[in-house]
């Protein structure tokens, strides 16, 4: 992850692209769904999670791009470490990238859609973290699987979205319950627990299968 951060700090290529894309996504939605300064009620959670999914997919698509040049991925695979450690490093990098992007997304959504997202920040953070971990775990595995595939840009969302639908639904459900005038915290906790369940399943499967999918 440190190596990825070092490379990123030289160009800011990936983070700037993803943040710009996420902010543009929210802005486009705001033009469509805000009329005379009043947003359509209850759309903000959907906008947040669609933007997170789209921006995350963009990031995941580029996650192994640096390993593709000169086939550095093979160099990594040759290291005397568990291959799951390589997966974990990549996953941490993606989580950091998505975390920064989500900060921008949530702020722009709060501003454009006039939603009180920050009244219970811990619940919001819990929703975003658990949702992101589930999405990124599966995404990192698929991105690694597709790194040598020519049509990886098309295949990644096709594979990723159907599998991560439960996480996205839980994210939308939890965020919707949280931003109500009278928040239903029991429902928020239920959706967080649901996402934790999916995180455990996805993370375990990804760590378990990474070695297998990376052996040609």
């Amino acid at each position: 992850m440190c190596k990825d951060l070092r490379i990123e700090s030289r160009s800011w290529e990936m983070i700037s692209t993803i943040v710009f894309f996420a902010a543009s996504c929210v802005l486009v939605f705001s033009f469509a769904l805000v009329r005379e300064g009043r947003p359509i009620e209850g759309v903000a959670p959907g906008i947040i999670w669609i933007s997170v999914a789209f921006a995350g997919t963009l990031g995941l698509g580029r996650a192994f791009e640096r390993e593709r040049h000169y086939d550095a991925l093979r160099g990594l695979m040759m290291a005397p470490v568990e291959r799951s450690a390589i997966f974990s490093g990549k996953l941490l990098g993606i989580l950091l990238l998505m975390g920064i992007t989500e900060l921008i997304i949530v702020s722009v959504v709060a501003l454009m859609f006039q939603v009180t997202l920050f009244e219970r920040p811990l619940y919001l953070i819990a929703l975003l973290v658990t949702g992101t971990v589930g999405f990124a775990s599966v995404g990192t595995l698929f991105a690694a699987m597709l790194v040598r595939t020519r049509s990886r840009g098309v295949l990644l969302p096709v594979l990723l979205y159907p599998i991560t639908i439960p996480v996205l639904i839980a994210g939308v459900g939890g965020t919707f319950a949280l931003i109500q005038a009278d928040p239903n915290l029991d429902l928020v906790r239920f959706w967080i627990a649901t996402m934790v369940f999916f995180d455990v399943v996805f993370l375990t499967l990804a760590l378990w299968t990474f070695e297998l999918v990376m052996t040609e």
Partner: protein, 243 residues
């Protein structure tokens, strides 16, 4: 240049037993058997698509054989575990470097990955051997093809592996660098390494290798030790094979 891994695994012999490998329906290796010993420098020859890179990838534990087995000493890759990879150095067609990192940062990254105890000393020595001491702070993408090739070779040898697998190591090297590589290979051989080297540059191999293995459509044969240059013997072998 030794690894700091507490668990040490070493071997004095590499045995390939009746190994076959298929890419889908296409057979890349067909019942290949071979034994390599420490202190041996073996050339792996054959036309394009004959299975040389597949065999090297297989020995590097990146590919699992469809049939047969590869033994490092008396253990297979799965029995030896991850520690086995600390004894394998692999230079493939692609250089396995990060173009956006400097030469020094590339070596530093791999030294950490291999857990080398004296990484600073290893890196300094590797840069000197690659002739890149003055260019250590330059991004790899700004280096010439030959410089990148030399750096990639040192990256593959950084952890002092027992088994060294080199795929076209002479690519992009000038005459001086080629002869430096040849003497480096001789030193590795004297140090008791097992070196398997795939190349089409037969002139560079002549007089350097102990024996030559030929792969042809995935089948293995040994180049006979007749009179004549390696190139002549190679051509003769293929003429006989065509008859």
């Amino acid at each position: 240049m030794q690894s700091s891994h507490p668990e040490v695994f070493d071997f004095d012999q590499l045995t390939i037993l009746d190994v076959s490998f298929h890419y889908g329906r296409r057979r890349a290796l067909n019942r290949v058997s071979l034994t390599l010993h420490t202190g041996e420098l073996v050339g792996l020859l054959g036309p394009n698509g004959s299975g040389k890179s597949t065999l090297l990838g297989l020995l590097a534990t990146l590919i699992e054989p469809s049939k047969g087995s590869v033994l490092y000493g008396h253990k297979s890759a799965s029995e030896a575990g991850t520690v086995l990879r600390s004894q394998i150095g692999f230079l493939s067609h692609d250089l396995q470097l990060y173009p956006e990192l400097t030469a020094q940062e590339n070596l530093d990254f791999f030294a950490k990955l291999y857990g080398l105890p004296d990484s600073a000393g290893c890196i300094a020595l590797a840069l000197e051997r690659a002739g890149l001491k003055e260019r250590a702070a330059d991004l790899v993408q700004s280096l010439s093809r030959g410089m990148r090739q030399r750096l990639a070779l040192e990256r593959a040898l950084l952890h002092g592996p027992r088994l060294i697998l080199l795929d076209e190591p002479f690519t992009g090297l000038d005459e001086y660098s080629s002869s430096a590589l040849a003497s480096r290979l001789k030193t590795l051989k004297r140090d008791g390494r097992i070196v398997l080297l795939a190349t089409h540059d037969l002139d560079a191999l002549d007089g350097l290798i102990d024996r030559a293995i030929i792969l042809r459509e995935g089948k293995m044969g040994e180049l006979k030790d007749n009179i004549g240059s390696l190139k002549q013997r190679y051509r003769q072998e293929f003429r006989q094979g065509d008859k």
